[in-house]
Symmetry: C2
Subunit: 448 residues, 2 copies
């Protein structure tokens, strides 16, 4: 068994390790851009210098997935405003085709052609602070991460690549809000801790909620996340803060599965066809549940802002549904072709025309008298409380959602969109089954 | 207002106080029976003596409701067996028509004609213990209650009658299990405490759960009942232990209503017609809920044994229904024409064909592995636990009740009956609407 694992991992490594050509191309392009930025800075009289960071700087990228990260470092004593202005100016001046993006502050995502391929390059202005605990902005930590990893990781790069590829196939690689998985830096730290992909899996298979890893033994973080990996360059920070309990459990589960039955399929999953329309209809029929889909124009914000708002809206609407005594079985959110979709699957979607309205305890005289004035007899008594039977406002969940969405807290961006452009409440029959939707539902039903 | 109350109470008192003829008749008959018992005892060589107890002995009965209670007192040093044998023999020897009944031990309920009327008379053997705290049987306390009340109550008898009549109209007079209301002795103690019906109501209107009344200031009772009235002759006993929280709240509610708007209707409620069949059908239609009625032959036991078992079965079946994710709106039990009926009103009585089966936390490796062996993929992860989707056993509540009643704890007597004679699961359409059933449903829907 153990030999088989080694064989598999070696084969996979050969496959995902960048070849000589790719390495040379990435290295040449990176140096070219750095030189360009630095000479532009000099000619524009800007005190700044570019450095290469991220997986390409640390040799931990997976072949074919190279994203070049260039940080443009400014003195820590200039203003936020000056950083933004001069940083973006400089970044744009070296790029032919680019777009402005936004994380904790704006940066440039540019496209460079090189050796017959196109590379995406992030050009990120930051402050050159004196250490990672005296940040002026969240990105200022990155150069310290870079230095730390380069110093310590030497020789373990292939293990990091295995982990990244493994997580990518599970759908939990990347710390962005849509995914809430493991960032590249987190992968590097996990390998630094356990020294190999296989040892990491053996430990992960036994992880408990709140698992704590503190390589430098200096942690001051007191949060209650599923996984806590103290940042070696900042004792107050959990590098795994973005890892959802789902991603955490998914890794644990996959670690056990792989250890029990190692296979290269974990690294190259077989293509799963999206659901066909007839498969989709037949699954719905078998389940016998009722789907309601809320659809509206996705607001024009980045996914890292959009997804938390969709999740918030999802749980707010779920509470609305449950407050009205319908029963939600499962729910999920997705974004597809410019639309945000909130999907609710219900066990109970229609209810009788009456409902119980539970009043105050009979013994609380003031409240009791108010209640009896406000309502009409008969007054029932249940569990020492007055109860009256009222007409139910909504006997159908469609009706509820068509009328009461405004009463939910949807978050600013969603509220604006819903107010301006409205929203639709759809049944699956009314939903256009795009490839994105079909693939969403394949995952929803369990991608097997 | 206050004058109006006095007028009402005086009028009612005149109406419910027994007249001279009734008093003479009750007194004569009581003395006659006592004399008969005592002389029979002497002739049979039995060491026993009869005394008159209860409301007729204390002059607290409501006109037309006289139940004569005769206790036959035996020396405390004879055996349980001897008491039962000789007591019943003696009681039967003075009675022409009687039946044997059973409370804490057997007694005779006899019928005597006197002055053109028939009277029910309880003939109860008991031990003449030295005080109420050294009982040999629960009924041994009664002679002490009798003595205490006769000594203290003088002059307040009409107030007791008002209270009894008030409670009777509310349906909460009597401590038997079907009713779980206020016993006659409890009524007398409440009047002893507050000295008048009206003062009692004024206090009851402000009662809190766990209200404690301890006339002799010697209570040692530590239970958590809604109402606690320490027995003046036994500090360890709560005379109000049988009062359900419903009866407790009902009195509080009615006290406030009466004080706010005094009326003789509280003492002579207008006749309410039982529901007609068409009214019944139309109410069901308006509610839109679903009724299921379980019916089986009532086992041949007294109501005080039957009703607790029915209540137990009700909550056991309710749990069965809810475990299967149907939603019970209300439920109740009744006995009618030899049948026990358990009535369940449902908000949700049909469900889709799938259900979630929630497994162990992903992090508990042993349990997780067992779970994954037992079930088939896909394994979803929700809230850090494995979840599989299974076929729902029962998608219809009728089917559930027809198949799974045996899995409920029904109590010995009900189990026996159900096993021998079976049970029916009925919809309201299949239910024969006897006068008893119609009157039950009138109460169920709120008797207005």
């Amino acid at each position: 068994m153990s030999e088989a694992v080694e064989t598999i991992l070696n084969e996979v490594t050969e496959h995902i390790r960048p070849g000589a050509d790719e390495r040379v191309a990435v290295k040449t392009l990176t140096e070219l851009i750095i030189k360009k930025v630095n000479s532009k800075a000099a000619s524009m009289g800007i005190n700044a210098r570019a450095i290469s960071v991220g997986s390409t700087a640390r040799d931990t990228w997976v072949s074919g997935e190279a994203d070049i990260d260039i940080f443009i470092m400014f003195p820590a004593d200039i203003s936020e405003h000056e950083l933004k202005e001069k940083g973006l100016l400089l970044a744009k001046s070296v790029s032919d085709r680019y777009e402005e993006r936004y994380a904790s502050h704006p940066y440039i995502h540019a496209y460079f052609r090189h050796g017959g391929r196109e590379y995406g390059v992030d050009l990120v202005p930051c402050f050159a602070v004196k250490d990672a605990t005296s940040l002026k902005s969240a990105v200022d930590r990155t150069p310290f991460h870079n230095e730390y990893v380069i110093q310590k990781l030497s020789g373990l790069e292939d293990e990091v690549r295995l982990l990244k590829q493994f997580l990518r196939c599970l759908g939990i690689y990347g710390s962005e809000q849509r995914r809430k998985g493991f960032s590249g830096y987190l992968c590097e730290l996990l390998i630094l801790k356990y020294r190999s992909f296989l040892t990491l899996l053996k430990h992960a298979a036994n992880w408990r909620y709140g698992e704590r890893i503190d390589i430098e033994g200096h942690g001051q973080y007191r949060g209650k996340d599923p996984l806590i990996v103290i940042d070696p360059v900042d004792p107050r920070r959990n590098v795994a803060a973005a890892v959802s309990s789902y991603s955490f459990c998914r890794l644990i589960d996959a670690a056990r599965e792989f250890l029990a039955k190692p296979s290269r399929e974990f690294f190259f999953p077989k293509e799963v066809k999206p659901l066909s329309e007839s498969e989709f209809r037949s699954i719905l029929k078998d389940r016998g549940t009722y789907f309601v889909i809320l659809r509206f124009k996705a607001p024009d914000v980045v996914e890292d802002i959009l997804f938390p708002q969709l999740r918030k809206a999802e749980s707010s609407i779920r509470r609305l549904i449950e407050r009205n005594e319908f029963v939600v079985y499962r729910s999920d959110v997705t974004v597809d072709e410019g639309y945000a979709l909130l999907v609710f699957e219900l066990l109970v979607w229609q209810l009788p025309g009456i409902k119980k309205h539970i009043g105050p305890p009979v013994t609380l005289r003031k409240h009791a008298e108010k209640f009896k004035k406000r309502h009409s007899p008969p007054f029932l008594i249940e569990n020492c409380r007055y109860v009256v039977e009222l007409k139910r406002e909504y006997t159908d969940v469609m009706c509820l959602l068509k009328n009461e969405l405004q009463s939910c807290s949807l978050g600013r961006h969603l509220s604006d969109v819903v107010e301006e452009a409205g929203y639709e409440v759809l049944t699956p029959e009314e939903l256009k089954l795009t490839p994105g939707i079909c693939s969403f539902f394949r995952d929803y039903f369990g991608n097997s």
